[in-house]
Subunit: 679 residues, 2 copies
């Protein structure tokens, strides 16, 4: 393969209106962070030892696991010395440290080294946060040290074969035995087997297990217990532990998701994490009122991790599809049928690819901003101020649902936009979809999360009616208080007006659902039943609210990008314009119910959107270059920086184990007898 770049790609780079290095610097968050990123790339992505010996999709399920463990071991050792030790030494905020662990692990080890999946990720992403939020200082001292030294690798164990979302339905029990000062864990039914935790199958030797505490014959709901699962020396399952891997999935097949049954498993009393609730030696139960809130806070941390991953996923997929759209040529547009244009010149292709680039930028800024909000709210909580907790909870639930849904939908749009090659593993698009679509289900199923956000909106609307103050992000509700108000006087179709229109629409939809539920309640229906009756519409308002929250927040964030050059700012503005027009047209069916636009009006907005595409097209390749994804992160023959698509595909095909012999064994065994059987 030659060193030079594909000329079609080079042409795109040459004609960009901004300096891509400026963009990269801004994207990374400044010079220092960019240098740190380069260092991590060098450590994790340029190390030939940290790669699969055979591409993972050729391996059997078992071989993939064994290879995954090899990578876990090698990569985690480096992660320890290059990241953990350094961050611990800083002795800063613990949550800030965990955030760094988690996000670096997700990007460089899970996406990079593991090609979407390493079976110890939950150790960083869920086990450590749980320990931090649920453990007493002594427990943290003991277990954090062990966990940071990797003497133990742990996972977080909650869902069961028959139970997911509804935590009160979980069946696993931990009954306290005051005589021996121990808890006895049991799985009373098949449906109570723990199911799903990453790494549980054969990787971890410890876990935090969520089980219903029973003491003195009384149940005290779910509590977290540290349980040793396997012998530290032999890795053999301990007595009473029934454990294994749950088998192949749509993706993430190197995650070693496992099951776990308990048959009278005993653990010392002090292995219940007791920061918020305690069982005394005598068996007496005590709980602080902050227990549920503290659990909620650590779930928020976890969901923000998912929000971050969703943004990264879309970034990778849009980089691949954009570069491929510049390299691939197909179907003449003009009168000269001998010239096949870059497929990016087809407007239908632009409509698929470019809005996803805009969305990538929006998702990154919103994700970063929400981490910052989280940090602020955690600081408030530390001093006993819980004011912003419900709002943040509603935002993170909504963002987790919308980001993951949109990101994987975006990946699929982009994958399909790559045509046949987007279906081949060598594009990496299948893995991007199949691995990441799980985000819609784990750490809070999206419909369930949207219902939580919706119920918050319902309560806030009620407050508004009562004249009580409502959250700052909900001030737009007021536009729907007076039904007779004329909607939106200044309707010029500018981005500001589109956001106003979406807010106005959302506010009215919230009002309407609220009124229907109240009507039901007056008829004597319980609130829960009324919520179910209007479940579809509740999901809708949560979705709309989250979308207007994103758009409105972005307006503020864009004003505040001091690290961006003016040329970069200008392309960010184009990206945001494109994003808003795309969102507006996608939700036009709701808008038109409240704002009487004609077919002509909508047609004009469609025209604006199409012009936004044409404008953004000029910079599309340069912007994805600015996302600065390392070729190892992209893992794609279609998306690599040099654009040598076909050469790379052919190289990958040569490694195919099926092609090592001209005729495989199955011919003589099976095919020849068929063909020669004179049927």
């Amino acid at each position: 393969m030659e060193n030079h770049v594909n000329p079609d790609l080079q042409k795109e780079r040459d004609t960009a209106t901004f300096n891509v290095d400026d963009f990269k610097m801004w994207w990374a968050g400044g010079r220092k962070k960019l240098a740190e990123k380069r260092h991590l790339e060098e450590v994790f992505l340029n190390d030939p030892e940290l790669t699969y010996e055979t591409p993972p999709s050729y391996l059997s399920y078992k071989a993939l696991h064994e290879e995954n463990i090899r990578l876990v071991s090698k990569a985690t050792k480096k992660f320890h010395s290059e990241v953990m030790v350094k961050e611990v030494a800083k002795n800063g905020d613990e949550w800030e440290m965990l955030r760094k662990f988690r996000n670096i692990h997700a990007m460089f080890l899970v996406m990079g080294v593991g090609q979407n999946g390493l079976s110890d990720h939950v150790h960083f992403g869920l086990y450590l946060p749980t320990l931090l939020s649920q453990g007493t200082d002594e427990q943290k001292q003991k277990w954090l040290t062990k966990a940071l030294n990797m003497e133990m690798i742990a996972t977080y164990v909650q869902t069961e074969l028959g139970h997911g979302t509804y935590l009160k339905g979980l069946e696993t029990t931990a009954e306290y035995d005051p005589k021996n000062e121990e808890f006895i864990l049991n799985s009373p039914t098949l449906s109570s087997y723990k199911w799903w935790p990453g790494g549980l199958g054969h990787t971890v030797n410890y876990a935090v297990v969520m089980a219903t505490l029973i003491t003195k014959g009384k149940s005290y709901g779910l509590q977290p217990f540290i349980v040793q699962l396997r012998d530290e020396d032999t890795h053999m399952p301990l007595p009473g532990i029934i454990i294994g891997d749950i088998g192949p999935k749509m993706g993430l097949n190197n995650l070693n998701n496992g099951f776990l049954g308990f048959d009278n498993v005993r653990i010392p009393r002090l292995q219940m994490l007791m920061k918020n609730s305690q069982v005394q030696a005598c068996g007496k139960f005590k709980s602080t009122p902050m227990s549920a809130l503290s659990f909620g806070a650590s779930m928020m941390f976890v969901r923000l991790g998912v929000v971050n991953d969703a943004a990264q996923t879309l970034m990778v997929a849009s980089t691949i599809a954009t570069r491929y759209s510049a390299v691939r040529r197909q179907s003449p547009i003009g009168d000269d049928t001998s010239i096949e244009p870059q497929i990016m010149d087809h407007l239908t292709q632009q409509a698929k690819v470019l809005p996803q680039i805009g969305k990538t930028i929006v998702f990154k800024l919103i994700s970063d901003n929400t981490w910052n909000l989280y940090t602020e709210v955690m600081k408030e909580i530390k001093v006993g101020d819980f004011t912003h907790l419900p709002e943040l909870h509603a935002i993170t639930c909504g963002l987790k649902a919308i980001f993951t849904t949109d990101a994987v939908k975006g990946v699929e749009i982009l994958r399909l936009a790559c045509g046949g090659h987007g279906y081949a593993d060598y594009s990496n698009m299948p893995a991007l979809y199949c691995n990441n679509v799980s985000m819609c289900t784990y750490d809070g199923e999206n419909t369930v999360l949207l219902l939580q956000t919706a119920k918050y909106l319902y309560r806030e609307w009620s407050k508004l009616l009562q004249g009580k103050p409502i959250a700052s992000t909900l001030q737009y509700f007021r536009s729907a208080l007076d039904v007779t108000t004329e909607p939106l006087q200044d309707w010029q179709g500018c981005v500001k007006a589109l956001i106003d229109a979406l807010e106005y629409t959302t506010a009215h939809k919230v009002r309407m659902v609220y009124e229907k539920i109240e009507k039901e309640k007056i008829k004597g229906t319980s609130q829960e039943k009324a919520f179910n009756k209007y479940g579809i519409q509740l999901v809708k308002i949560a979705e709309l609210h989250t979308r207007v929250y994103i758009a409105r927040t972005m307006v503020g964030l864009l004003k505040n990008q001091r690290k961006a050059t003016s040329a970069v700012k200008s392309v960010l503005k184009d990206a945001f314009d494109l994003f808003v027009r795309y969102e507006f047209l996608n939700n036009i069916g709701d808008v038109l119910q409240f704002i009487p636009l004609t077919g002509q009006d909508v047609d004009a907005y469609q025209g604006c959107f199409e012009r936004s595409l044409l404008k953004f097209r000029t910079n599309a390749v340069a912007v994805v270059d600015g996302f600065d994804a390392h070729d190892r992160i992209l893992s794609s023959a279609l998306g690599s920086y040099d654009g040598h698509v076909y050469e790379r595909i052919f190289e990958m095909v040569k490694k195919n184990p099926l092609n090592q012999k001209p005729v495989n064994e199955s011919f003589d065994l099976y095919l020849k007898p068929l063909m020669k059987s004179s049927l």
Copy 2:
């Protein structure tokens, strides 16, 4: 596992309003066809030899191929004796015979035996139809015999590494050498390597290859050539044939998709399929004007096959998700928080699952009906009447695009509605998505097909303006001719009115796009450039038109179901109501641009839709039972007839090769050194 059925599922069956055996009989198309189906199930699905020895998702890529060839061999032998011999003996219409081959092979062998993929499927689905439509009688005699005896297994070779949709861009050449009366095939570039054909890698020994014919120094466009690829005895690639498997994909990994390069490969002159175009011994080229039409007709056959498969896919997925939604219990709705209801009682779950059942019924009826249309049009063509060909072409392009898009979107909605277990292979939902989403891309990429339908609509609108007759399926265009007409006087929100509204909307959208393109042309823009400029909107009208075609056609078909009992007819009506309301609300953004409904109006339709859900919910399980999918076709722990979900999951997990030893090799090799390294 006990013999009885899960009680929640039984309860659903007991309360259905119709007799499920009546439904099954109607669904199969009558008593005789049901008996034939049962026989095929016995032959292909109840034969323990026709199953994977290890579930396919545990196998390496190579092992999967070898196992696939074992199944191909065993299953094809039975297919030959049980299907092919019998159908050939009938000596009926050849296309009818091929349709049967293709659809039985797709259902019982590909879906059933192969669990979505057997590497000789293209032999039946594409090679035979090509031979039939492109070969002279002598060629058919020679090659069909060989193909029906399975002496040869062939594939259809068209797309190239660098070229897909735009056939004129294909680079492979077949140059005629009059001296030896041979064609010489060559792949002049890397991008001209043939890419994708199913079975090409290591399964087939012959292929029909589409290559640009060159004779007497002049190029005559694409022609089909029968090329022997491998020795019939040894399976060794013949000289000049560069061949292999293209590697893992998102799904269909037992399809053995291959690549093929030619280095001066010589074939006899008579291996060009010469029904429509001929090269004489001297090298003189002759062509009939019907050549392109004949190619189009065989592509229609192929696309109707895909339409059929899309309908089947949605049927399987909706069966699985519906049964699981009746068995799975979660999250209290009422005041008694100790009772978790069947998840199907959550309205949000109904909104995901039930419309897909309605759509399955619609897709099946439309698919069958379109095959019949096809047969009629083929008969007309035989007597030289081409009147209905363009209309049928536009319909099949649109249906292929909409059926495949909707089917796989539906699968994904249903898969996500199964929560975590829908992500596990044991649900079969991942395979249903990953295998079948390829339908959106192959045999005509969906956007490209929709543009073809759109251009037909454009031309027909133009005819309408000129006062010429237009196709019967486009008569609704007239409602938008006079822009001042009041839309839809009788607006009661009944299903009829909803379809009228969708038609009215579509007609206006067609008009608007037409007017814009004409305006562009007046400005001097070429038609092709104008098409590109309005590509997004053209795709939109094709989509809308296809949707109204489906709905309008269904109205007629439902009136004509004489084999259905009145109780079955009644549930079909419910299903169709649900379908139309779902389609209407999904397209409300377009409708509202032309029909001034208020927020209140739309709210009322939303209410109708939600009531349709509640009504249909009663019969949901019985209807999917009526789809009569064999447990082997479902291949799902979540969807089997008896509803023993958790027991089946646990059984599958026990077979996991990773769980055969309590500790795998990788612990001592990699994990222990990490944990014991005192980091």
